[in-house]
């Protein structure tokens, strides 16, 4: 079901056969992501790019692109060279102890986390609508991490 709706949306985003635009948007383009505000060089930054209906913010399914980023100088960087055009949300966290998950205390993150569009701090995970962005051409985005506990 999730995969179906993601496909439907991908179909919508792709240029239609009767599109009147003189220069149709490319089907794939580069996405450059910088994560900053990382408070230590320990562990790794884990990142997921989620299309709609991929179960954001946990981001599951074959449509999701994931990556582990190396930390250098409080920052981490990655470029996806040929990401299909479409709508995405990015979910990222600092897996300082490299155990493969975002550690929580009573539901509150104990490791740094962040999202595309850097939504303000609220007592819940953001909704997809608060982090989504349209990837229509080569672009760069920047995510700052938030540490609570």
């Amino acid at each position: 079901m999730a995969a179906l709706s993601a496909l439907a949306l991908a179909g919508l985003a792709a240029p239609g056969p009767g599109a009147a635009e003189p220069a149709p948007a490319p089907a794939r383009a580069a996405l450059d992501i910088t994560v900053h505000g990382i408070n230590s060089a320990r562990g790794v930054i884990r990142l997921a790019i989620c299309p709609p209906a991929a179960g954001f913010p946990d981001c599951k399914g074959h449509e999701v692109r994931t990556a582990n980023l190396h930390i250098a100088g409080g920052q981490a960087h990655i470029q996806f060279a040929d990401l299909p055009a479409g709508t995405y949300g990015i979910s990222v966290f600092h897996d300082a102890n490299a155990n493969g998950k975002l550690d929580l205390f009573m539901g509150i993150p104990r490791e740094g986390y962040g999202f595309s569009r850097n939504p303000p701090f609220r007592p819940r995970a953001p909704r997809f609508a608060e982090v989504e962005f349209a990837h229509t051409g080569t672009m760069a985005t920047s995510i700052s991490l938030r540490y609570i506990l």
Partner: protein
């Protein structure tokens, strides 16, 4: 849309009521248990009173849940609090200063509303519920008449909209509020005698200090700090837990003031 909004506010209030209620049962339960381990006769003869204390306290949880739920909902759905997470967003000194400021505001609000509630008319109708605990136990932490619970329920939820507070400061204030509210009533002193009778104890309210308020009524009104009582000449110094049982019998003569 409107109905959905009302339902989600209601759910937030119910969730906060549950959290406050469980927090009360856990904290009071813990200190009551520790108290009984230290002093097996601590609650002897107080069974009826403790059941009443728990009943009023759980009712208070429902009152506290209203502004707490409203604040949580507003934060969650509209993002309208001033709570922040980056310690460097404000100077580092703001962390301890904002923490102390929250306690000072809460303390001042409590001191003056508490004195007001010792006015005979208000005492009989409202505050007598709290003083029905003779002597109070750890279960009396939130044993208030609903009007009294309401008077104190808005302070912290209002502060998160007024002062920029780090999330950790909010948690610390809630922790201190919960622990002091419980320990000040539990009938034994948690803090070392060196602190209680030392220089810090002249400024900080402990169980030994608040015990005297429940014995004599017309003194020691404060919540965290003694300076309002010092300033108003209502500080009568420290009480004692020696012969707490006798105090229980003797308290029958104590009237309201």
């Amino acid at each position: 849309m409107m109905a959905a909004g009302i339902i989600s506010v209601g759910l937030a209030m119910a969730a906060m009521t549950a959290i406050v209620g469980l927090r009360y049962l856990a904290t009071s339960g813990l200190f009551a248990w520790v108290g009984l381990r230290r002093q097996p006769g601590l609650h002897t003869g107080l069974g009826t009173q403790i059941r009443r204390e728990i009943g009023w306290s759980l009712l208070s949880a429902g009152i506290y849940g209203i502004p707490a739920g409203l604040a949580a909902w507003t934060w969650q759905e509209r993002g309208w609090t001033r709570i922040y997470t980056d310690v460097n967003e404000f100077p580092l000194w703001w962390l301890p200063v904002s923490f102390m400021l929250c306690l000072a505001v809460h303390d001042a609000w409590f001191f003056w509303t508490h004195r007001l509630m010792h006015h005979p008319a208000l005492f009989r109708r409202i505050h007598a519920v709290h003083h029905d605990s003779r002597p109070p136990t750890a279960w009396a932490a939130m044993s208030f008449h609903p009007w009294e619970a309401l008077s104190g329920a808005f302070v912290i939820p209002a502060l998160v909209f007024i002062l920029p507070l780090h999330f950790g400061v909010v948690l610390a204030v809630l922790l201190v509020m919960t622990i002091m509210g419980t320990t000040n009533h539990m009938g034994w002193e948690l803090f070392p005698a060196r602190l209680v009778h030392g220089r810090a104890g002249r400024w900080l309210i402990t169980a030994t200090h608040h015990q005297l308020h429940h014995e004599r009524y017309s003194c020691n009104y404060g919540l965290y700090f003694r300076y309002w009582d010092h300033l108003c000449g209502t500080d009568r110094g420290l009480g004692s837990f020696v012969g707490a049982g006798a105090g229980r019998a003797g308290s029958a003569r104590a009237g309201s003031s």
